[in-house]
Symmetry: C4
Amino acid sequence: MDEFDIEVLADPDLEDPVLVEGLPGVGHVGKLAAEHLLEELDSELVRRVYSTHFPPQVSIDDRTAQLASAEFHAVTPEEGRDMLVLSGDHQAQDSEGHYGLTDAFLDVGEDFGVEEVFALGGVPTGELIEEYDVLGATTTDEFADRLEASGVVFREDEPAGGIVGVSGLLLGLGERRDIPAACLMGETSGYLVDPKSAQAVLEILQDVVGFDVDYESLEERADEMEEVVRKIQEMEQQNAPSPADEDLRYIG
Amino acid sequence: MDEFDIEVLADPDLEDPVLVEGLPGVGHVGKLAAEHLLEELDSELVRRVYSTHFPPQVSIDDRTAQLASAEFHAVTPEEGRDMLVLSGDHQAQDSEGHYGLTDAFLDVGEDFGVEEVFALGGVPTGELIEEYDVLGATTTDEFADRLEASGVVFREDEPAGGIVGVSGLLLGLGERRDIPAACLMGETSGYLVDPKSAQAVLEILQDVVGFDVDYESLEERADEMEEVVRKIQEMEQQNAPSPADEDLRYIG
Amino acid sequence: MDEFDIEVLADPDLEDPVLVEGLPGVGHVGKLAAEHLLEELDSELVRRVYSTHFPPQVSIDDRTAQLASAEFHAVTPEEGRDMLVLSGDHQAQDSEGHYGLTDAFLDVGEDFGVEEVFALGGVPTGELIEEYDVLGATTTDEFADRLEASGVVFREDEPAGGIVGVSGLLLGLGERRDIPAACLMGETSGYLVDPKSAQAVLEILQDVVGFDVDYESLEERADEMEEVVRKIQEMEQQNAPSPADEDLRYIG
Amino acid sequence: MDEFDIEVLADPDLEDPVLVEGLPGVGHVGKLAAEHLLEELDSELVRRVYSTHFPPQVSIDDRTAQLASAEFHAVTPEEGRDMLVLSGDHQAQDSEGHYGLTDAFLDVGEDFGVEEVFALGGVPTGELIEEYDVLGATTTDEFADRLEASGVVFREDEPAGGIVGVSGLLLGLGERRDIPAACLMGETSGYLVDPKSAQAVLEILQDVVGFDVDYESLEERADEMEEVVRKIQEMEQQNAPSPADEDLRYIG
């Protein structure tokens, strides 16, 4: 197997498509968002990218094995622009793998004539979120203006540590290829899988790209997560001294 | 030395052979199983595979040194199909090594016309085993059907973490070469070398491939391991408070 | 992207330039010194060096992303020799990256006809510094003589652990290319960013190379750091038992 | 710089030389032994081997820097066979570096017509040594017989963990090139630099290869080390309860 190996499964014509990336990361925000698109819209598996920089691993699906890979699905919705959705269960395991895979992903994008790249992800805030802002970073000021008009928030020097991994490199290497690229980062606590943050990111993307999806299943997953959080909080309260006890101390 | 270096030691003709892999892993199940085949059946060393991804190490056997390698033995038993048995003391030390070595192993397999691959290993359950199920994963449904008929158990999405290392990649890369491959994973606690699990795996393989071996030496090793477990349990009981003491506490 | 990728942004003629390197390191001494030169003197960005051995990362500056890189600025001051200043936010992440990047940096230097290399850095002493000596190491005795005349201190077998990273390799690989190279290492505690140490290094370089810069902004940063140190010491004193208490114990 | 880079400094004719390797390792036994040969016998620096797998580092010797490397000295003593002595301060930092450097070292050896390789090192016993046995491992039985006649001890399956690093690979890769190679491993506690173990190894080598060196300086270093050990033991006794106290407990 080559270091980076692109398997061609189908070659549909796409019209001015955008590339939408959602690989695993903070709060699984990007991955949830990309997978939601694939669940809600008709899609066709068009490419698999294998790499010796992925974990040496197969996953078991029913009875058969699937080699670690990233997948591209073509989505041609009735409303909005065509999309090439990049998803998967793995990130590269080293720096050279991140660079090489991102180059391979952009090669696939260029095969399909991709005109813009959207890297979806989460940005950790360290606390529970009430209102889910979506932070942005781009390769051109013109792109930033358009995103700002759709509600994306740009804050100076944020995220402070930059953007790491494939999402960041899609901007860095995209810019070097003159492909406009943006990173849409949903705020998220960073502690839990966060379907609400994924929905916030998708709603921005929907406004920019123009598809039409239902968010019911994502809202259900968000409710499930809130139930989990509620139970954790309950357990913590039972272990902590009761408020009554604490009040008494202050009175007595 | 090349990154992956195949040394040719003999080139016997094999008839429709199967490749049986048993490198070190969970409970040493695969390694014990492969080595048992080589002890019980006549075999000939046909290939050694060296790699700069193996540990930089020689082992000392009597007075002379043997460079880290994986070995292929040809086994042509009276009963059952010819086998190419892959064994050794080492795994690759990084992701690229796992991919490259598995490709080299499949190259050797194709040299000998291998028609099916069986990767032997263990799957950790975290608790002591009474009845040793053998879990399976394959590259084709047809292969899975045949294995199920021989008693292999297929459970949805198990093992949950997928299959890591050479055993997993023999399926993943085998499938890409159109070589049917299966992983037979004996259940094992994961804490100890497990000859019983190795025997369970071999009994399945025996049914599928058709050789005839005696299990006495493996049963003796299993008895030795049970003696070890018994002694550990005794020591733990002596350190724990006696049940009598605990009862008294509750009464008093 | 290539493993090491030099982007040409401008190609001014420089007269007998010296290469001045200030990448991140102990006390950020070299980085502060190089950045101070670029703030105080007119400069032009001439090269960016990208590498798959840098972290897979973009930094966000205002709204747009910048791929991890090292930058060369050409500085042609009225007084003193022309300079090629190498700065950046990253070091390579592995040994091969350090070697390869240093070779790429020397390639850029040779493109511009660099005649001497000055690697700027800090040397940790483990204690707060009163007087900031600047230690030296070079590739030739003649170069060492000149530096000693400018106040650089040479101590036998110091630094004891040698010089690690790009600064060290600029000497090691520079020597192999017959480019005279020196490392100027400002003493620094090693615990804090140290603008005073950076100033000490620059004052030596000023004497050797002949530029004329103002140190006010560096002195302001040094004052800020001293304020930080003062506050830390105050907090430590409040937590420690007062000397009075301790005396009493001995008396009572 | 190439991944492995051999610098030619001199090319004297050597007659049927042996290669003697003493790089850093357990108890610095091999390094002490090789350096003792170079101190006691006339030698000429003939090769330096650089590698991107060495640490990215220069060492400072007086005022000038020396890039991390391994050195070959030619030794043509009046008595005994010519020798090519390999020494240095570094080991490779990864598995591929160990393999590649050992291949480069054997290339240099073959340039000079080396007929036998002696890898010198220590084998840790975990306790202080009274009598310093020298363990052996070789590539051929004939070589083992000769070494046994000179007092080398061969113990079945020892060292249990095999031999790791360049010393081990000189045997493993030497055997693949049909160059007889042996590892001479002086027993050593493994906790301290051990000049006595180095002397034990050299006395064996002296018997096999036939040189004549004085051991006074090595004995002085051994005395210094014993003084260090004595002081450590004293400090430990002062901290431990005195033997008198312990006796009383048993009496009372």
